[in-house]
């Protein structure tokens, strides 16, 4: 099967004055369609750097990144934005919702930039909110929502354009254990529905939801193992 993600010798070098930081030092990675991958590793090991590159928010210093077979390292800013809009749904640790803007409008936002007409935007945003169980919070601003609810709004926003790929960088980092489990269960549902999901996490508990766990250290992938996903097995839906 053609991989959704293919990294070939990707490195990212940050230059801070005299010193060079190799946030990523030659990463090769393939992720097939419909996989559920957890990325773990100590702080500073390059997880976020990797996710940002995978999410077309950043570019590698060297190497190639093929997204759905397209070499996005050659794309200009406008086409990268289109990939972020259509192919990828990104979920951040800090939610990154627009303040003083209702949940519904936050979820609509990607559709504004894909040029969907207003009616369709509202319909699809409501559907996405239904899917994360926030039907009754559509008109709440982020400040009127709990952390878990805000993260679910962010997930709805990531879903609303029906992307192939969901990327989440420590989505449960700001949440308590109980809420973390709810949110991870939500990612698992999406995976079951056929999406490719990559989640960065520090917690083995959270990683337990995934079928494949990748470990990073000093900008390299040091282990890549398939495991029997706990809840996936329980539900019997693992591919």
């Amino acid at each position: 099967m053609k991989p959704v993600i293919r990294l070939e010798g990707v490195s990212k070098v940050y230059r801070a004055g005299e010193t060079e930081v190799h946030a990523l030092a030659g990463v090769d990675l393939e992720v097939g369609a419909g996989e559920f991958v957890a990325i773990m590793g100590p702080s500073g090991s390059g997880k976020s750097t990797l996710m940002n590159i995978l999410g077309c928010l950043d570019r590698p210093t060297t190497g190639r990144y093929l997204l759905d077979g397209r070499d996005v390292t050659t794309f200009d800013r406008g086409r990268l934005a289109e990939e972020r809009n259509r192919t990828i749904g990104f979920v951040f640790q800090g939610f990154n919702l627009l303040a003083r803007t209702s949940a519904l409008e936050n979820v609509e936002l990607p559709l504004v930039y894909s040029g969907a007409p207003r009616r369709e935007r509202i319909r699809r945003a409501r559907e996405a909110l239904d899917r994360v169980g926030l039907t009754d919070r559509a008109h709440h601003a982020p400040s009127q929502l709990s952390g878990g609810q805000q993260q679910r709004v962010a997930i709805a926003r990531a879903l609303v354009t029906s992307p192939r790929l969901i990327l989440a960088d420590e989505p449960t980092g700001n949440l308590d254990t109980r809420t973390s489990i709810d949110v991870m269960a939500l990612f698992q549902d999406l995976w079951r529905a056929g999406l490719t999901v990559l989640v960065v996490t520090h917690e083995p508990d959270v990683a337990g939801f995934a079928a494949r766990v990748i470990a990073t250290r000093d900008g390299r992938i040091v282990s890549d193992a398939c495991q029997t996903a706990r809840d996936a097995r329980a539900a019997g839906g693992a591919p």
Binding site: A81, N96, L98, L109
Partner: protein, 409 residues
């Protein structure tokens, strides 16, 4: 990209900070407001001046004693008289383009009537004076050539004099008045003429036959015209020809070799009027230039606030980019915001301009003239200000890196 798409976003962003948006617009409001009111003032003054000149009469020349260089308009009136009665006859008979010529001599003196007295300008002239000034009698009749020959003690009054000497509701025609002790009979009342461009009341005047004026009011210097000669020509073209003819007749009669030594002046009112209009145009242009500068300052204010806004909303920009806003979307959002500011400012400024023009027109007794082309230009200019001064902040927003923007605190 849908062109209207950034509009609601921009409006909402501006409404979120109403006070700041208003203060930002103030520069443009004042700029556009002053463009419109300045031009309106200029136009109003211009139309009032040309109306005043029309009242003076068209195709009109004024011959005065003293050189053109001895002062401005009517500057020769007070200088040593050089025009003689023979000069007047010569102008009448030898200048073919002259249709009418009339002497006008004046004395400030009081007129005593049944009901009161009034200090006014008493003028001596001939009947030709009135068609030159396109001035008709409203009641009674004008004195005639034979009144001049017979030294008839008759007087024609302006409306202001009538109201002071007789009050209202009285028909003064046929009534007697006294001027310097001599009794005169009122034979006519002139129609209302209004104010001259200098602001003097043209109706505050009385007219007697020139012969009577010379006999009773002039005093010495009998061979000279201690006043001016009004000349009327048939058309604008004739007026210029008449001006040349009179100049050469008088130069000849006064034995003047060199034009520079003229002891008389022939002034063309059309010339004076157009010079005045040109002065007004210059003034209007100058004021408009000042207004344009204030518009530019308003634009810089918008740019300043938009730069602050881009910095403040860096995270928002990062979020928008992360969910797929292309650089053009971000640029359009801030550009539209700047244009919304400047165009709203422009509209409010147009309102302000109308208000100020109206107030000025009412207080300065000018015509209320707001030129629609100036309004359109001012509005387009304010839109352009938004584009020009919004471009730099918008480009700055567009060029933000999504990751750095998301990290911005």
């Amino acid at each position: 990209m849908n062109l209207m798409q950034p509009f609601p976003i921009a409006v909402r962003a501006l409404l979120r900070n109403k006070t700041r948006s208003f203060l930002t617009m103030l520069g443009v409001i004042i700029g556009v407001g002053s463009v419109i009111s300045m031009v309106a003032v200029g136009e109003g003054a211009k139309s009032s001046v040309s109306k005043a000149f029309e009242q003076m009469g068209t195709n009109l020349l004024i011959v005065t004693s003293g050189s053109t260089r001895s002062g401005g308009f009517m500057g020769g009136m007070g200088s040593m008289p050089t025009l003689t009665w023979d000069d007047l006859d010569a102008i009448r008979s030898e200048a073919p383009s002259v249709r009418y010529a009339a002497p006008l001599m004046s004395q400030k003196t009081s007129i005593v009537g049944e009901d009161g007295n009034w200090n006014t300008q008493v003028n001596g002239t001939t009947p030709e004076y009135f068609p030159i000034r396109s001035w008709r009698v409203a009641e009674g009749s004008m004195f005639s050539a034979s009144d001049i020959e017979t030294n008839a003690k008759v007087v024609v009054l302006g409306q202001t004099v009538v109201s002071h000497v007789f009050g209202t509701g009285v028909d003064p025609v046929g009534k007697p008045v006294r001027i310097r002790g001599t009794p005169y009979q009122v034979i006519g009342i002139l129609e209302k003429k209004g104010q001259s461009f200098g602001g003097t009341d043209l109706d505050d005047a009385a007219f007697v036959p020139i012969s009577v004026f010379r006999g009773k009011l002039q005093g010495g210097l009998q061979q000279f015209i201690t006043g001016v000669i009004f000349v009327g020509a048939g058309s604008a073209e004739e007026t210029f020809r008449a001006q040349n003819q009179i100049s050469s007749i008088l130069a000849d009669r006064h034995h003047i070799a060199d034009r520079a030594d003229d002891d008389f002046a022939v002034r063309n009112l059309t010339e004076i009027a157009s010079a005045r209009q040109q002065g007004m145009n210059t003034l209007t242009g100058l004021l408009a230039a000042i207004a344009v500068v204030s518009l530019l300052v308003g634009g810089i204010g918008i740019m300043n606030i938009m730069l602050v806004s881009v910095t403040e909303r860096t995270r928002e920009i990062g979020i928008r980019m992360a969910v797929g806003a292309r650089p053009v979307h971000i640029m359009a959002q801030f550009l539209v915001e700047a244009m919304t500011l400047s165009m709203t400012g422009g509209l409010l400024g147009i309102g302000l301009g109308f208000g100020v023009s109206k107030i000025l027109a009412d207080n300065l007794v000018w015509a209320f003239v707001v030129r629609s082309d100036i309004v359109a230009v001012a509005f387009l200019f304010s839109a352009a200000v938004g584009v020009v001064f919004g471009l730099y902040p918008a480009r700055k927003a567009m060029n933000l890196d999504p990751i750095e923007a998301l990290r911005y605190e």
